[in-house]
Symmetry: C2
DNA sequence: CTGAATCCATTATGATACTG
DNA sequence: CAGTATCATAATGGATTCAG
């Protein structure tokens, strides 16, 4: 008897996916990947493109992504120094995912509450 | 001249997407949404399905998702009590995204380092 | 037995200053 | 420009306790 996909995905696939979720679960990783999915960015370009992020966090998240093989870091020995971040070949395969996410948001994003970013804020009259 | 999509996405779209990133950036949210995308889950079912998560975190993340209108919570007045978590109509639109993510991982997930979950762990001989 | 709340330790993230 | 260092705060992990 061969095992075949039943509904949408298999239960075992969940096991496999966990690593994928882990490497994308950082607070700014999705946004960073979204940007890098479009073009190559320099450190400060990313910093300016992501309003709330700090240098510390940007550095940390980029290193995480780099360690996971999703982002490559290229240092140019120039003055002033220049460091470019680019998606790796592996990460470029995420484009369909980014497109699907964008399509979803374009369709359902309009019907959204007000929540800012993190939890902790009172859910305003959430009963 | 009409403005048309140039590369993949527009810069302004990034602005719009930020809220989407925020509501999916929780540490376990992607995984929770992945599971709920397949079927309805009870609280403890989710807890068992997500190995590393604690009750505290599961509760918190579910409330976040609920507050963002991605998950609905249904309480059944039974004994023993039962609470089911289900994707909202809005969140169901995420299925293509989940599928794209799964397809990506199926293709590129094999070429992965060892990193466990978070940063901080030495990237085992990573230079 | 299910689900939530509390206390405390550890980690992640935010803010600012400083260096190559 | 591209980080690193340091400290403060928030988020998360772990165990226990509480409520229905």
């Amino acid at each position: 008897m061969e095992k075949q996909t039943i509904a949408t995905h298999d239960v075992d696939m969940h096991e496999e996916m966990r690593r994928a979720f882990a490497m994308l679960s950082g607070k700014w990783k999705l946004e960073i990947m979204w940007l890098l999915n479009q073009r190559v960015y320099r450190f400060n370009e990313l910093r300016k493109a992501i309003p709330g992020i700090t240098q510390h966090m940007l550095t940390a998240q980029l290193r995480d992504l780099e360690a996971d093989g999703l982002v490559s870091r290229t240092i140019y020995a120039e003055v002033p120094p220049r460091v470019e971040y680019e998606m790796t070949e592996k990460a470029r395969g995420l484009e369909p995912t980014m497109n699907a996410l964008a399509a979803w948001w374009a369709e359902f994003g309009s019907s959204i509450p007000s929540r800012t970013t993190t939890r902790g804020r009172k859910a305003s009259g959430q009963k």
